[in-house]
Amino acid sequence: MNRRLIYAMMASLDGFIGDKNGSTEWAVVDDELHRHFNEEDAAKGAYLFGRRLFEDMCTYWPTADEDPEAPGYIREFAEIWRNKPKYVFSKTLQKADYNATIISNNVVEEIRKLKSQPGEDLSLSGSALAETCIKHGMVDEYLIYVNPVVLGSGRPMIPEGINLPLKLTDTRKFSCGVVRLQYSKLKKTIIR
C-alpha cells in the first residue's frame, strides 16, 4: 500500500493562500495551532519542496532554535525541520543541506516512486510543485485550514482551471477561529 501525499494549506475564507502581495501575514495562528502543525509534521516521513520554498526555509529554520527567546513551538519545529528527510525538486539547485535530496528530472515518476516506498506519509509544500502533483492526480489528501479572514483577492488555493470534487473525511475547530477541513481525493480530477 502506497504512502499518501498530503497537501496542507492555510487559506482565507475566500480561498486564497496568499494576499495580493503574496504575503501570509493575515494568517491566524496561535500556540495551539503551531503545536498542531508541529505534531502533524513530526508524523510525516518526508517533506517534498519546490526550490523556492526550500531556499526560503533554509534562511530561518536551520538555526531558529539557537535563539533562547524563541517560543517553544519554534524551537521544536526547527529540530523537526532540520532532521526530516527532504526531497527538493529543482533543475538548477546543485547542493542542498539538512537531510535533503535534490530531484532534477522526471518529477512525476520520482514522486510515484517515493509514494511506493514504505514509510510514513509525505508532506507536499510549494504551490508550483503542488500544481504538478494535483494535475497528475497524485495528491491523496488535502488539508484546508480555513482562516477567519476574507482577503478579496490574492493567490488562489488551486490553479485556475482545475475542478476537484473531494470527500470530507474530518473537521476540527481551533480556538483561534481556524477550521481544519480534511478531504481525500475522489477518482476524477477535471482539468479544463
Binding site: L13, D14, G15, V150, G152, M157, G161, L168, G177
Partner: protein, 200 residues
Amino acid sequence: MNHMRKLFLHMMVSLDGYIEDANKEIDWSRELGMDEEFEDYSNEMLRSIGGMVLGRKIYELYLGYWPKAFDNPAGAADHSNPERHLEAARLLHKKPKYVVSNTLKEAKWNQVQILSGDLEIEIKKLKDQPGKDLVIFGGASLACSLMEMNLIDEYRLIVNPVILGGGTPLFCNELSETKLILSKTRKFKSGAILLVYNPL
C-alpha cells in the same frame, strides 16, 4: 434601546469561495441541496426568518421555479424528498421577500416588496422594524454592497466539498482584508460543512 433585527447571509459556496462555477452553473451544489438532512436544516432556517432580501436576478430565478412547486405539489413527486420540498415551497411563498431592484415594477409573487430607493436606507429601515431576523440569499454583488456598508451581521456559509478553480466569487474583489469571528460549525453527512462567522 431599540433591538435591530439581524441580517444574515446564507449561501452555498465551493471550498475556494465560489457561488457559481465558470459556466455560471450550480450543479455541483445540487446534490447537497436535495440531501434530506440539508433540506431539514434549510427549512428550519426558513421557518426562523422574518423575511428574505434578494437581488433581482436571484428573485427571478426563484420566481421561475418555486411558485409552481407550491401550486402543484404533485409535480414534485419525483423529487427525492417531496414533503420537505413542498415545505420549502410553502415557506418561500409565505415569507416576505424584499427584492432590491431599480427596474422591477411588478411583484408577481406573494408577499413581495420591491426596494428601489437608496439601498442603505432601505435595508436599515427593514432592520429597524420589529420582527425575526432577515436573510440574504444573493446575488453576490448585492451581498458585496451590503458587506461594504457593514449591514451584514452574520455569514452562514455552506462549504461544499469541491474546489471549482474559477467562477463567481462570493466575496468580491474590491473587499479589503476583513477579519471575522468564527462562531459555529456544523458538519453534514453529505460532506458539506456549515461555517458561521460574525464581523468583529
